[in-house]
Amino acid sequence: MSLLDDFLIRAALAGIGVALAAAPMGCFVVWRRMAYFGDATAHAAILGVALALALDIPVFGGAVAVALVMALTVSTLSGRGYSMDTLLGVLAHSALAFGLVAVSFLTDVRIDLMAYLFGDILAVGHADLAVIWSGALLVLVLLAWRWQALLTATLNPDLAYAGGLDPRREQLILTLALALVVAVAIKVVGVLLIAAMLLIPAAVARPFVRTPEQMAIGASVSAVISVLGGLALSLEYDTPAGPSIVCVAAALFVLSSLFRGIGQRA
């Protein structure tokens, strides 16, 4: 019997895979103030799930495709005279609503909506694990490959241009990475809580770090602790796993904020 036959081991591995991809991506979401952007992309994924089920294509593919379309739409529309938070608010919630309506049409497929909204990490199978880790590794490779350029573009687009980079291209790469993170995270925390996995670990790490790299590593550590802690919580008290993970992350955030408060007074 292989170790991977244990559902709890599979759940932990799936969670760690998502944590390692979401944490550094989340740093960019925080630095570039893209929180709502992450939300919109994640909410659009539910529509992707519905379309994938209707067309009988892999759920992961459908989610990536629709999340990417949403992310590109937002990138394109931004800076065209719309107020960004209104635009994102409209798109995020419309995508979710359309997704939920689309799911209701799928009468011949029995789908557990809750599993997509809040994740179903304890039901992760071998194939899911392979998809999650491939997606997560792809995100990490993308971010590592473009790291210097992404940081420069995040700092200031004109500095990037002067250095011979194209910040619009870097924005596209981030958008693609974000869509991938969303798609791999659906099974683990569900579309409604993906933004939390992006933002909270990065925010937890912030008071303790001095460079972007330290923040990415710190965020990854806090994300992994949240996943393992959440799973333990879920096992002990029979709570839903996805929300439990986010609860642990939120608790870490409170501790980290207290540390920051003490640090500033000292």
């Binding site: 925080v30 630095w31 570039r32 103030r33 210097q148 350029a149 940081l151 420069t152 995040t154 700092l155 200031n156 687009p157 004109d158 500095l159 990037a160 241009y161 002067a162 250095g163 011979g164 980079l165 990065a202 925010a203 912030r206 770090v209 001095r210 460079t211 972007p212 790299e213 330290q214 923040m215």
Partner: protein
């Protein structure tokens, strides 16, 4: 061949014509200053030169392998982004510790490597921006209102540093400034920009040009007394636009 040149440059922003028919060139080792009232397209022009601003007409020609060091007007670093000085200087290209420390010494703020960018004073911050530009080993240093927020002795010291750097490194310098008297004293050539090139030449020529006086009024005459000569010169191009309108806005 010029380091970089612009031919009949035109830029529209939101339907408004910001730059039109701008011809420009800068040679190796030259210090050129661009002056002009608010909204005259100075920053847009610099952004066009570094490739950050799409053109509506005209073209920009760069010397092959031209290295540009760019110092932006202001740089806001989001407080959520932790950034030490040393890390900042390693963007977009990684730099060795020795290079970083030498660049900081060069701009007279040694030993700042470990400090957070957010904790620097205005003067230190500008010098660190300059150090980052120097690490490119630039042929051309471009500065956009680099002394904004510095007091007068601070900005005077900053411009002295720029002049020293030009001498040591032999790079050309292109800067935009509103501090006419300080900046013009250090320039080989001044370009007066107001959507188009109103006039250009040595500081003396520009300071006495009627187009320049019309843009900046007579209030600056005291500071510019140094440049007041009697000499004849002519301008190219038309200057039939309403200069007095800008005076009222200023």
């Amino acid at each position: 061949m010029s380091l970089i040149s612009a031919e009949k440059l035109g830029v529209r922003l939101g339907g408004h014509e910001v730059l039109s028919g701008v011809d420009f060139a800068i040679e190796r080792g030259e210090i050129v200053t661009i002056v002009g009232p608010n909204g005259s397209g100075k920053s847009t022009f610099l952004r066009a030169l570094i490739g950050a601003q799409p053109l509506n007409s005209g073209r920009i020609v760069r010397a092959h392998g031209l290295r540009i060091g760019y110092v932006p007007q202001r740089l806001h670093i989001d407080p959520t982004l932790p950034m030490t000085v040393a890390r900042f200087l390693s963007l977009p290209r990684r730099r060795g510790a020795a290079d970083v420390s030498r660049a900081l010494e060069r701009v007279a703020v040694p030993h700042l490597e470990g400090r957070q960018m957010a904790d620097l004073s205005g003067g230190q911050f500008q010098r660190v921006l300059l150090a980052r530009a120097l690490l490119e080993a630039p042929d051309l240093l471009i500065l956009d209102e680099a002394t904004q927020g510095l007091d007068q002795p601070g900005s005077a010291a900053f411009y002295r540093l720029i002049e020293e750097l030009r001498q040591d490194l032999g790079c050309a310098v292109l800067m935009v400034s509103h501090e006419l008297h300080v900046v013009m004293a250090a320039s080989d050539r001044v370009i007066c920009l107001n959507g188009h090139v109103c006039c250009q030449g040595t500081p003396e020529i520009v300071a006495s040009a009627p187009e320049y006086r019309a843009l900046f009024g007579t209030g600056t005459q005291g500071a510019l007394a140094l440049y007041r000569h009697d000499h004849n010169h002519s301008h190219e191009g038309d200057c039939d636009h309403a200069h007095h309108r800008h005076e009222e806005e200023a």
